[in-house]
């Protein structure tokens, strides 16, 4: 699946991955790839601007540590991020079920 298909959904996916606990960017990308069973094919470099944008929106918070002599930035969900994730999940469920209903076609007339 190409990045175009993820348009507008990257925030939901990233927040959802981080709902499991704090992770650094590489781990987030790996989790996205594993959970989608390799379906999401997006340039890895695009995930970091999204993480930064979510942090600036107050949905994530990050902290730096030093691992193996390198600086590492770890992100975690804020309470606002948790609320936003719940809202986005609800919106996605509504959208998904609506699309499914459309694709399924009209119901059989039982009368």
């Amino acid at each position: 699946m190409k990045g175009d298909a993820l348009k507008g959904h990257l925030d939901l996916l990233v927040l959802s991955v981080l709902a499991d606990g704090p992770q650094h960017g590489y781990a987030v990308i790996e989790a996205l790839r594993e959970r989608s069973e390799q379906a999401f094919d997006l340039p890895e470099g695009t995930v970091y601007p999204a993480l930064h944008r979510l942090e600036k929106a107050g949905l994530l918070i990050s902290e730096w540590s030093v691992v193996g002599g390198r600086r590492r930035r770890t992100y975690r969900l804020t309470p606002s991020g948790g609320t936003a994730l719940a809202d986005l999940r609800t919106a996605w469920a509504d959208f998904s079920s609506a699309v499914t209903r459309v694709l399924r076609g009209p119901a059989w007339n039982t009368t």
């Binding site: 340039p43 470099g45 601007p49 930035r73």
Partner: protein
């Protein structure tokens, strides 16, 4: 290591992020990712150079990644808000107040009918409105996140108001007042990078030079704050730079990184046009490799900004 592709990549990325507040943080974060990825690929059996090459390949073109970072402003407050728009209207009111104040003083000096007590409320009002407008300017420029700027701003604002209270509007007081406002202005516009706001910078700094210009400049900034651009523009320097163009639209960007590592002195002279990896003729726009690069950049914009922005630097002024 003899050829460190990641190091060269980070240099390219850094070039694409001029003047950002997080200029040190972004490359550090990207480096951690790339080295982690490369080490895992090495563990999978690749040699060091090939592992780095693969890590960079899946991470993306450094110019494209930099542009994605630029599309998301580095300063939390550097976007229009309801308050900054309101402060724009206040700035317009401040400009009108300054015009009235200047007229009142000139009229009073000629006719001797206006006393200091009459002028005082106008002066206090004009300064107060200007300070509110400047608070909006600082917030629009994202300056409030810096503690030093917050403290200096607060001190300068108190100083400006304190000067206005015992108003008799002598030259020394007026110059001091305008200096304080100008200081606030410089702080407010520090770090701003939008096109319209850039023009406001010149106008606001100009106000410190001559008394009547404060009204005009405050009106200009008020207009820009109230109805200015909704989103910060891409960095003009990045947009116009032929060097960045060459780096961002060239299909063989990774090849350029490799070439730069092998031959650092040839960084700016090795490739003058958008060329194929072999360094031969410029790629025609009908070439599928050129098309792939454009598609990749469009995909990045879609994923990171949620909007279909026309890929920048699509035409090459040098090659065409």
């Amino acid at each position: 290591m003899e050829h460190d592709l990641i190091e060269a990549y980070l240099v390219e990325l850094r070039h694409g992020l001029p003047g950002r507040a997080d200029l040190d943080d972004v490359p550090a974060e990207v480096e951690d990712h790339l080295r982690l990825k490369a080490s895992r690929l090495e563990a999978g059996g690749l040699d060091q150079l090939e592992a780095q090459h693969r890590a960079l390949e899946v991470f993306g073109n450094p110019a494209v990644v930099a542009r994605a970072f630029i599309a998301s402003p580095d300063v939390p407050g550097a976007v229009p808000t309801r308050f900054t728009k309101f402060s724009g209207l206040v700035a317009i009111a401040a400009g009108l107040a300054w015009i009235n104040l200047i007229g009142l003083i000139e009229f009073g000096l000629v006719t001797m009918l206006v006393s200091a007590s009459t002028v005082r409320p106008f002066a206090i009002g004009a300064v107060a409105l200007t300070v509110i407008a400047l608070v909006g300017s600082v917030q629009r420029a994202g300056g409030f996140r810096n503690l030093v700027i917050r403290l200096v701003f607060t001190g300068a604002a108190i100083f400006a108001l304190a000067l206005a209270v015992p108003v008799w509007m002598g030259d020394a007081v007026l110059v001091s007042l305008l200096s304080a406002v100008s200081l606030l202005t410089i702080l407010a516009l520090r770090g701003s990078r939008t096109g319209q706001f850039g023009r406001g910078r010149a106008a606001m700094v100009f106000q410190g030079a001559w008394v009547p210009t404060i009204a005009l400049s405050t009106l200009i900034v008020g207009w820009q704050l109230a109805v200015g651009p909704r989103r910060p523009r891409l960095d003009d320097r990045l947009r116009r730079s032929a060097v960045h163009h060459r780096r961002s639209s060239g299909h063989g960007w990774l090849e350029h990184v490799r070439r730069d590592v092998r031959c650092p002195g040839a960084r700016h002279s090795s490739v003058r046009h958008r060329t194929d990896p072999a360094g031969a003729d410029p790629l025609p726009r009908t070439d599928p490799r050129f098309r792939r690069d454009v598609d990749q950049r469009r995909r990045v914009m879609l994923v990171t900004t949620g909007s279909v922005a026309r890929p920048q630097n699509r035409r090459c002024p040098i090659a065409e």
